[in-house]
Structure formats: structure tokens, C-alpha cells
């Protein structure tokens, strides 16, 4: 049990606990805020694994943008303050979902854990190396991503303001 293992275990426990509360809490806003805790735990474990760039981008994009978007969407859809009784699920569905999650986690763990062949030396990939590969080998996928983001932006705008479609498509133009 090295120092890296201990740091990773701490971050992983934070991530799993945050994810557990994000999935099980009845307060809808709390679910989004527990997601922040879970993602910070994931970012910490990525940092321990030696991927500083990915950890920082995860915090910037997920915590900074995605969770804020989710909070906005919750407020725009009139999320109740306090427990959400309108969307409460029955006990059978909760048990079924828990069993499904446990089965998925167990299946993945049973496949992945035998692949772990003892302790390995953590190989460090420098950020300059990542940048060189990103703009060398991966430059065309990277450029395609910008197209994807543009399409998502335009598509989201078109879908979100298309409420006058019922009156007729010419009303939106």
C-alpha cells in the first residue's frame, strides 16, 4: 500500500459516496450538488493516476458547465424545494434499480479485476507530450469535435426555441 494507493483510495471513496448520494437523494437540487462531489472525487483520482490535464478539464467542463446547466434545467422545470414527492418511485423499482446497478458493477469488476497484474510503476505522460499528440496524431478528430460542438449549439438552440412549431413552421423563421 503505497502513498499513491492511499491517495487514490481517498479520492475513490469520495467519488463513490458522492455518486451514491447523487443517485439516491430525494432532493433534486442536492442530486446535482452531490454530482459535483462525485466529479471532484473522480478528478482527484485522475490526478493521482497522473493525468493532470484531464483532471483539470473534467473540473472545468463538468463542474463548471455541465452541473450548472443541470441546475438551470432543474430550475426552469420548476424543481420543488425540499423532497421531490411527485417523482418518487416505489420500493420495487428502487430495489430493481439497485440490483441492476450491482449486477453491472459486479460484471465489470469480474471482467476487469483479473486484468490487474499486481503493482505497476505509474507511467507519466507529460502535458507537452499530450499537446504534441493532440495537434499531431489526433488533429482531425480534434477539428471534428469543434464541428460537433457547433452542431450541438445550433441544434440545442433550434430545439429549445421551437415552441411555436405547433402554430406552424413558418412562425419560427
Amino acid at each position: 500500500m503505497t502513498a499513491l494507493d492511499t491517495a487514490f483510495a481517498a479520492s475513490a471513496v469520495l467519488a463513490v459516496l458522492g455518486g451514491l448520494f447523487a443517485v439516491t437523494t430525494r432532493h433534486v437540487v442536492h442530486a446535482a450538488l452531490w454530482l459535483v462531489v462525485a466529479l471532484l472525487g473522480v478528478a482527484g483520482s485522475l490526478l493521482v493516476l497522473g493525468a493532470e490535464l484531464v483532471a483539470l478539464v473534467l473540473v472545468l467542463v463538468y463542474v463548471g458547465a455541465v452541473v450548472v446547466l443541470v441546475l438551470f434545467a432543474l430550475m426552469l422545470t420548476r424543481a420543488p424545494i425540499g423532497p421531490d414527492r411527485a417523482h418518487a418511485v416505489g420500493p420495487w423499482r428502487a430495489v430493481g434499480a439497485a440490483l441492476l446497478g450491482l449486477a453491472t458493477a459486479g460484471l465489470l469488476a469480474s471482467v476487469l479485476v483479473p486484468l490487474a497484474d499486481g503493482t505497476v510503476r505509474r507511467s507519466d505522460v507529460a502535458t507537452t507530450q499530450v499537446a504534441g499528440q493532440l495537434f499531431g496524431t489526433w488533429v482531425w478528430p480534434f477539428e471534428l469535435l469543434s464541428l460537433l460542438l457547433l452542431a450541438a449549439l445550433v441544434g440545442a438552440l433550434a430545439v429549445a426555441r421551437g415552441s411555436r412549431d405547433a402554430a406552424g413552421p413558418e412562425a419560427t423563421s
Binding site: 475513490a12 463513490v16 443517485v23 463538468y62 422545470t77 510503476r121 421551437g162
Partner: protein, 108 residues
């Protein structure tokens, strides 16, 4: 030096939690929380391949960046759809029958 069992267990636990969250939620916005958890499990797995040394072209760092970007785009479009549905139906309950089904039942 790091043991690889930890990252593998974390990735499977995150994906399991995400699947449970997608299955248990009726609020359409909170389904996305489960999806984000699943994707972060995938991220941990990708970065683990880099830490283990089985990595070419820095793929263990570049592919997670792509995944994060695609996930952000996906969340934006999904929330736009959820808002459009909410404006049209006044509810984001996923268990509620759709208006087409209810009118089909009432109609001849």
C-alpha cells in the same frame, strides 16, 4: 508505484451507480446525472490504461478529453429536448404516458 485494482474497482462502481441512477429516476433531468456518472467511469478506465503504460499516441489523455467534450455536447442537446418537452407537456415525468397514447385510448 500503484496497484491497478483500485482504478478498476472505481470504474465499475461508478458505472454501476450510473446504471442504477438511470433506472431509478423519473425526473428526466436527473437521468442525466446517472449518464454523467457512467461516463466518468469510462474516463477512469481510459486514464488507467495510460497509467499502466499500455499507451500509444498519448491516447489515455487525449481520448478522455474527447469524451468530456462529447458528453458536454450531449448534455446540452438533452437538456434542450427536456425543456422543449416540458414546455409542451408541462411535466418531465418519464413514467407519464405520452399525449398520443392517452388520446388514442380516448378516441374511437
Amino acid at each position: 508505484m500503484i496497484h491497478l485494482v483500485g482504478p478498476y474497482l472505481l470504474a465499475s462502481a461508478l458505472v454501476g451507480l450510473g446504471v442504477a441512477g438511470v433506472a431509478v429516476r423519473r425526473n428526466a433531468v436527473l437521468v442525466l446525472v446517472g449518464v454523467e456518472l457512467m461516463l466518468s467511469g469510462g474516463l477512469v478506465l481510459l486514464v488507467t490504461t495510460q497509467a499502466a503504460g499500455a499507451d500509444r499516441w498519448a491516447a489515455g489523455s487525449v481520448l478522455p478529453l474527447f469524451t468530456i467534450t462529447i458528453a458536454a455536447a450531449e448534455v446540452v442537446v438533452a437538456l434542450a429536448v427536456v425543456l422543449a418537452v416540458f414546455r409542451r407537456r408541462g411535466s418531465i415525468d418519464l413514467d407519464e404516458p405520452s399525449p398520443a397514447e392517452t388520446t388514442a385510448e380516448v378516441g374511437p
